[in-house]
Structures are given as structure tokens and as C-alpha cells.
Symmetry: C2
């Protein structure tokens, strides 16, 4: 069974996660056949490992991690591959992969441009 | 003259800013009549104040700041309003306003969902 993890940075303020909760809700309503979990790099739960464990427990066999980050700095270039490799080692029965950051996607950037243009 | 500032967090790794440079390029090609500058909260230049000064020097009279952040945590709820108020005080001739974070926009969230769905 396929699953997706929307992976964010995390923050101290609990309200920071609101758009992530909305993303998970949108995913569930539009792609109900694909399990979804949120996961955070730091300061928020669940961790990537906890999210993978949870999805594995729900029967996922193939998990795609989508980094919900704009830029690809140290967190995505250094920390994230190590974290992903550690998860893969811990859950060898899961086919674990990751996309580039959502900020690399032209359609995401275009939506930001359109948001700015509407605000003028 | 209208202008827009795309305001990001900033990061140590210079490559982190690549999507922001792409955003500015998209803006210039699609909305050439509205000046655009990037600005960063920390670890990258220019600061919000420098960007406002630069646009003011180019003749901008009305500047909209778009926070290119997903969540609204301490940075946007606490630091950003103070920073914006300080800029407004320093440049009283500019009509300075700000939108909500781009992560509050449904079309931006939908673009992220679609990116994830294409990756499966």
C-alpha cells in the first residue's frame, strides 16, 4: 500500500503547523487511497521515524516523503538524507523514497506569484 | 509606484535562496510594472529594511510584503510585525503593508498536494 509523508521543519509555536494540518486534510479528501502522515525535523511531533513506523503499522509498503520546504539548505542537503537512510535501515521492508523540496516545483512557485499578484 | 517584497527566512547555505531567486525572476517576467525585491529575516541579505530602502530609491510609494513562509509561528507573529513597524517608521512616505503567509493560501497548498500526487 502506498503512503506519503509531508515533512516540515517544525517550530516552537503550535500554530505554525496549521497549514500542515490543512495539507494532510486536503490529501485525505483528494487521495483517500494513499495514506498520509505529517512529520517534522525538529520541535514538533511526530518525527520522520515515528511517522514511518505508524504508516508501516497501517500496512504501508511504499512511502514517498515530500519535504515541505522552500529552499534546500543544510537541513535538506545534510540532515534529511541521513534521517531517511536511518529510517530505511530500521524499516527494510518499506520502499522509502523522497522527492525534491516543494519549493523546487514551478507550479508551487507560480501559486506564490499569483497569491502576491492578487494582494496588490 | 507599486512594489512587492518576497520575504523569506534565510539560511546559512547560499543555495537555499535558489527558489527565491526563481520567484523574483518569475515576478519580473510576469509583472514587470511592479518592482520586486527579495528580503530575508536572518542569515541572508538584504534585510527587510534594506529592501524597502532600495525600492524607495527606485521610486516605489506602495510596498506589499509577502511572507514566503509556510507556517505562522514566532517569526511571523512576533518578529515580523515589529520589523515592519520599524520600516514604516523609517520610511513614512511609503505605504507599507503585508499579506498573510503564503502557506495560508489554498492555491499554494493545492499546488503542494498536486506535486506530491505526481511523485507517487
Amino acid at each position: 500500500m502506498k503512503a506519503i509523508i509531508l515533512f516540515g521543519h517544525g517550530a516552537r509555536d503550535a500554530r505554525w503547523r496549521e497549514p500542515f494540518d490543512r495539507l494532510a486534510g486536503l490529501w485525505r479528501s483528494q487521495h483517500p487511497q494513499v495514506l498520509v502522515e505529517l512529520a517534522f525535523l525538529e520541535m514538533m511531533q511526530p518525527s520522520l521515524e515515528s511517522a514511518v513506523a505508524s504508516l508501516a503499522g497501517d500496512g504501508a509498503t511504499q512511502i514517498t516523503v515530500v519535504p515541505v520546504f522552500f529552499g534546500q539548505g543544510g537541513h535538506l542537503r545534510n540532515d534529511f538524507p541521513l534521517l531517511l537512510a536511518a529510517c530505511q535501515e530500521k524499516f527494510p521492508q518499506i520502499a522509502l523514497s523522497a522527492t525534491s523540496a516543494v519549493g523546487e516545483d514551478l507550479a508551487v512557485l507560480q501559486a506564490i506569484i499569483d497569491f502576491g499578484a492578487r494582494a496588490l
